[in-house]
């Protein structure tokens, strides 16, 4: 096998590999999203984070604007401390709401930021005060049962 021909084929082979990797990274994966951008960190406290995981999406109006950083339990105040990394490009008012919603019916949970009306914006290290916990299925069911039990009682009167 001539050396030149060998080199050409191997070169094509390696090039194909790089193209494939590139293809996977951009067209299949989400590398083109905000992962590589600069972010600033804020935090929020939740009684129940449900199924929220680190690296889960943080969305505003349905658009991904950041990623969840870390989630730890505070053993003194007995709530979860969620660190949120928001893309530098976006600023939110100080009275923004942070709610945990579910994507689709049985999908993954994400953090939704709903902007408030404050003049001042959140800075790095600030705390989001208004939070809404994740919906826990069991509580929903017991609430439903309690409500329906209450209705039955009223009917009995």
């Amino acid at each position: 096998m001539e050396r030149v021909k060998l080199d050409i084929w191997v070169g094509i082979f390696v090039a194909l590999g790089i193209i494939a990797m590139f293809y996977l990274a951009t067209r299949v994966g989400n590398l083109t999203s905000n992962d590589v951008k600069k972010t600033y960190e804020v935090k929020a406290y939740f009684e129940n984070i449900g199924g929220l995981k680190p690296r889960a999406a943080v969305k505003a109006s349905g658009v991904v604007v950041g990623r969840i950083g870390s989630i730890v339990f505070d053993p003194e105040a007995f709530h979860a401390v969620v660190k949120i990394n928001i893309d530098d490009r976006y600023s939110f008012p100080k009275d923004t709401f942070a709610n945990i919603y579910t994507a689709g019916l049985l999908g993954e949970q994400y953090l939704a930021l709903e902007a408030g009306g404050d003049d001042e914006n959140l800075k790095a290290g600030d705390l989001i005060v208004h939070t809404q916990d994740a919906v826990v299925l069991e509580k929903l069911i017991s609430q439903f049962l309690y409500n329906s039990a209450g209705e039955d009682e009223k009917d009995d009167d």
């Binding site: 096998m1 050396r3 060998l6 080199d7 084929w9 191997v10 094509i12 082979f13 390696v14 194909l16 590999g17 193209i19 494939a20 990797m21 293809y23 996977l24 990274a25 067209r27 299949v28 994966g29 989400n30 590398l31 992962d35 690296r55």
Partner: protein, 261 residues
């Protein structure tokens, strides 16, 4: 009673030989690394081996990937449709390939094609005393024969696995979108939303590097220790495939539990 004792004895012996094989394999790896300078200074040696292990495997990899992708698309569609989630077919195909099937199936095919070729070649060189001749000419067979093939395998496997994933996804696209009629936009957008570069693609690439290391080292080792007869070499190639396949599947489980759980 004797039969049971015999069986236990054989089990113990095979366990011991497996352990000693592991040790010898590790020693081969360290020797290969020590003698690797030639593989890089005279890169032509390595390039030649990349051609034989990588380039010549491309056909089987691409064809297999396309079929695997198509089957994933087909099977996945009919299952997802029952839950009304047929638009998630893109996610299913992509994740299955990138995380698991890409690295694992490529490794199995690699072991079967390139691994057996390496084992047979080295076993034959041992049988015809070519390795001895090289030693007597003060040229290390490890540096000249083993190391280039090792690095070629390490370089080829990730490339083959990545190509496998890409072609597989295209195969899935072909079936799902072009044949069955799933919405193209939903196919790609759901995929992009749910396949994470760091967690899925990079982890799959790490797997393929580990598998490449394992399969290549096993193939080289079996070739070097093959008894210098025709029967010995042929048995060595069988051992390469069997041991490589089992190791890949076992390592896949270990790596998956580290990475994705």
């Amino acid at each position: 009673m004797n039969n049971i004792l015999n069986f236990l004895e054989k089990l113990g012996a095979s366990f011991r030989s497996a352990l000693s094989g592991l040790g010898s394999g590790a020693r081969l790896f360290f020797l290969t690394v020590i003698y690797s300078s030639d593989s890089f200074k005279r890169f032509n040696l390595t390039i030649k081996e990349i051609y034989f292990t990588g380039v010549l495997s491309m056909v089987i990899i691409v064809v297999s990937a396309f079929f695997v992708g198509m089957v994933l698309g087909l099977q996945g569609y009919y299952t997802l449709e029952r839950y009304g989630s047929s638009e998630a077919i893109g996610v299913l195909v992509a994740l299955a390939l990138v995380r698991e099937l890409g690295p694992v199936v490529t490794a199995l095919l690699f072991a079967g094609r390139a691994g057996t070729a390496i084992t047979a070649e080295i076993g034959l060189m041992k049988t015809t005393e070519q390795l001895s001749a090289m030693e007597m000419m003060a040229v290390s067979p490890i540096g000249r024969i083993v190391a280039p093939r090792f690095w070629a395998g390490m370089i080829s496997m990730p490339i083959l696995a990545t190509v496998f994933s890409m072609v597989g996804i295209l195969g899935g696209y072909f079936i799902a979108v072009l044949i069955i009629g799933v919405d193209e936009g939903a196919f790609w957008s759901q995929m992009q939303a749910n396949v994470d570069f760091h967690n899925d693609i990079v982890d799959g690439a790490i797997k393929s590097v580990v598998f490449g290391f394992t399969c290549t080292l096993i193939a080289l080792y079996q070739g070097l220790v093959a008894p210098p007869t025709a029967e010995g070499v042929s048995r060595a190639t069988t051992k390469t495939v069997v041991i490589s396949s089992l190791s890949v599947l076992g390592l896949d489980f270990v790596l998956t539990s580290f990475m994705f759980v």
